[in-house]
Symmetry: C2
Subunit: 147 residues, 2 copies
């Protein structure tokens, strides 16, 4: 998906919700899709501040939440206390491998796991809405250091 396309769908989203496209929302949106890393709200605020975007902390939190609501960002719980975000551009659904040594996050997809999840949910009478699978361990270079 091209940037233009997703940009337009953001504007659609705002219109549909009767929200305004302000300078701040614009800055946040653009930066969110410029980066290809996972980030926290505070990191993100730092980036904005560096480039003198003039967007306040409160607005960063409010706008990131908005982007999650609209499905432009995924919220990701790394287990460190803060919320992590990642944009969805070109990302299909995936789960995460988290290195407890260096904090690095890898993405993977494993349809066979997904299928088994459905099977489990059905067995327990649940209608599955979402899932979250985190694999924690040491990445190659960290496990080399550790041994």
């Amino acid at each position: 998906m091209k940037h233009e396309t997703i940009r337009r769908s953001f504007e659609e989203f705002l219109k549909k919700k009767k929200l305004r496209l302000t300078r701040q929302r614009d800055e946040v949106f653009e930066l969110a899709f410029e980066t290809h890393e996972h980030f926290t709200a505070e990191t993100f605020l730092g980036w904005l501040t560096e480039r003198d975007s003039g967007v306040s902390r409160a607005t960063v939190y409010r706008t990131l939440a908005l982007l999650v609501e609209g499905g432009f960002l995924d919220l990701l719980d790394v287990g460190t206390g803060e919320a992590w975000y990642e944009h969805v551009l070109g990302h299909q659904h995936h789960d995460h491998l988290i290195c407890t040594g260096c904090g690095r996050i890898e993405e993977f997809r494993e349809p066979r796991i997904e299928a088994l999840q459905e099977e489990v949910a059905t067995k327990y009478g649940f209608v599955l809405k979402d899932h979250d699978l985190r694999l924690m361990g040491l990445c190659k270079s960290c496990s080399r250091k550790a041994s």
Copy 2:
């Protein structure tokens, strides 16, 4: 495993770490193994307060962390912000199904998923230490209500 057994292993654990068996630690330990529900620190504090245990909030947090460290409690991240605990008595490793309607938590085990997790980790050069799989959805009675 009988209560007596796990109780003794708790005392062992304290001895090994040169920690003292205080009245407060005793209260917390006993209550933690008395309940068969998942609980948060604040809920737990509430229970203790009801029975006039005279254990302070600070000590509850400190002791729950201690019990996790010793492997007597499992820490569980339900995605609601607070930490949830569950005792390990007779619980083998398992993952969770979380009802987003009523908050109910079901446990399940699925060795085939575990096997695939190892496979994924290996593929990415990770040495797996732990994992966390949460399936979110509606339980039978909540999905009935919803429809």
